[in-house]
Amino acid sequence: MAVLAQKKPTTIFEKLADETWRRKFLRNVLIPWLFIAPLLIIHIFVVAIPAVQGVYMSMTDWGGINPNVNFIGLENYHKLLFEDHSFGKSLNNNINWMLFFLTVPFILALFCATMLSQIKRGGMIYRSILFIPYVLASVVTTTIWKNLLNPKDGILATTARALGIEGFEVAFLGRTDTALISIAFIDNWHFWGFLMILFLASMQSIPPVLYDAAKIDGANRWEEFRHVTLPGIRPIVLFMFMMVAIWSFLAFDYIWLITQGGPGGASEVIATQLYKNAFQRFEAGYAAAQGVVISIFAGFIILVFVMLRRRGWDI
């Protein structure tokens, strides 16, 4: 009765005087925070503070060298959105890049993962072969493909010429109409194996009994894929959709290593433009504004997925 009558501590002093509260606080609040503190401190110093600094720098005329900067408000954003016509072109290229990567590698990966999931013996060999391009450094991949696609001495052109096949002596990377799609093709050659392995791993976690049930119900292969496989791997597919959409706005290395945005800006994306502004034109403040805009795009994509999740989507 006495225990029931005991008054719950309400003020901070009463709480600190109460041993039960102190133990609970230590176990549920303080210790978890202490465990996470090292990571949090590192995160604050290498992510949060630089991010805030980046936002501030985007509102200055900083050139990247001279520490004396002038605050110019939203001038960089105004220039970016209303005056810099090349930004719209780069954004358009980023969107095309995203559309490519949200379709081609997903279709390839889903198809091959489905095929490979049927293989009982020797599957590991196929998986390894298809995954190898993913572990190659981008410098290696781009060098290989620049040589393969060389219209004069490339292996494709010389082999086709030797076999009497025409049409391969095209400078795919030197034409404004094919440069971006060719780089996307090269990047995808490296990337899709990674998606395939993720989908395959996810497919293997689907209970076989579901396939048995589908077979009993008379489902053919396509119906099995549509009604069993796809719903089974949907969370990972949708998650990768979100990640690929975000990565599409960060595309840089393959484009930089192959064309540096050329010819004539045909393969220019926001990240290559940002690099040029920061390190070649010495417009680091303006480049920071572009970085903030990329972050806003990424944030918008995440927001869409968060909203879908709240509406009950299994992501």
Binding site: G63, G64, I65, N66, P67, N68, K146, N150, P151, K152, D153, V170, A171, L173, G174, R175, T176, A179, T259, Q260, G261, G262, P263, G264, G265, A266, K276, F279, Q280, R281, F282, E283
Partner: protein, 431 residues
Amino acid sequence: MKHLKLMLSIALLLLALTSVGAQDVTTVTMWFAEGATLDCWGPIMESFNDIDPSVQLEIVPQADTWNATRTAVVGGGGPDIVRTPGPSFVYEMAQAGLILPLDAFAEEMGWGEFFFDWALDLGLVDGELYSLSDELETLLLYYNVDVFEANGWTPPETMDELNALGEEVAAAGYTVFSHGNASWRPSNEWFVGEYMTQIAGPHNVYKALTGQIPWTDESMVEAMEILDAHMQAGWYGGGLDLYFTNEGPTRRAMLADGSAAMNIEGSWAIRDLTDYHSESGQGWDWVSVPSKTGADQFTIGMGNTSSINANSAHPEAAAQFLTWYFSPETQGAMLTSCLKGPAPVEISAEVMGELDPRIAKVYADLSDASANDRYGYTTWTFWPPKSDVYIYEEVERVWTGEITVMDYLEGLNEVFAAELEAGDIPPIPSR
């Protein structure tokens, strides 16, 4: 125990002696990109260490050297010797107080005695000397001697002759200029600066650089239209799409194996030409890039600059190294051993006599041209950074037909005017 004490005492004594020795040696640091250049330059630069044991040079291999140096210097660190890709990069660093003024060292160590008069002026920022220019460069018209002889062609002397020869070369099935920008996209700017100098004339370029005439002046329009016509005719690399695809080794091989007749490129290409052509067995030679008037004129450029870091603990020692490095003797040794473009200093006739006559002639003619008002300007040395990037980025849009020559020059005018107003133009030697 006795032995242990004795050994400890000896160890402490040795340690103390080593520390005293280490304190007496001043180390000057310099960052340099790894590769063939460092392999050749490194041992020569390190021979500085034999002169005075108390001042030692330490070369630190550093990838992406300029960006690494810039970041480190802005952060309060970096090497003692700060190397930049050209005079236009020095301006911001000097304004920010990141590098030291060198006037006192120049006077004390007599730099004016061996540098050409105009060369020290390139390092001035607001009247004070902040950098020393290195690697004198110019653009030349190289040609394949065997191809020319087989077809009875002679090197062109005027732009009209070049145009006529180009037609003949293309009709004979050769690529006119072996070229491609896939390895180095800024190589577009070589031609913009060269055509402006050779067609519009160096005096008009000087006027435009000093804001006396706009870049839309009709002489500039003519220069850019001729360049565009050459590009559209597929003279460079065998076609515009191939120009955008060909890598450096391809363009060297095209001239060496005789599939291309000529190449407009910098004097730095000589290093590779000697290798490629000795392998193919075909001859090469050069003439100055033909001008509209027929005048034998050369654009002048600098490959990089050297300054002293404001954070350097040993600026005196750094200046001592720079004095040795830029001396005609060291520059001559690097020219003969590595075919390094020399700093703009007077190299002795004896050293020049050791060189292949074709190479010696480049520097003799360049020296003569600079002394006799027959010099022009390379974009990477005399244009401010934003205009420079505009020149090589946007010119591709002209060649791909997205914008006209006039649109391009109007854009250049706008970017340049803003930099001129801000005072960001590198020093232009007056003429």
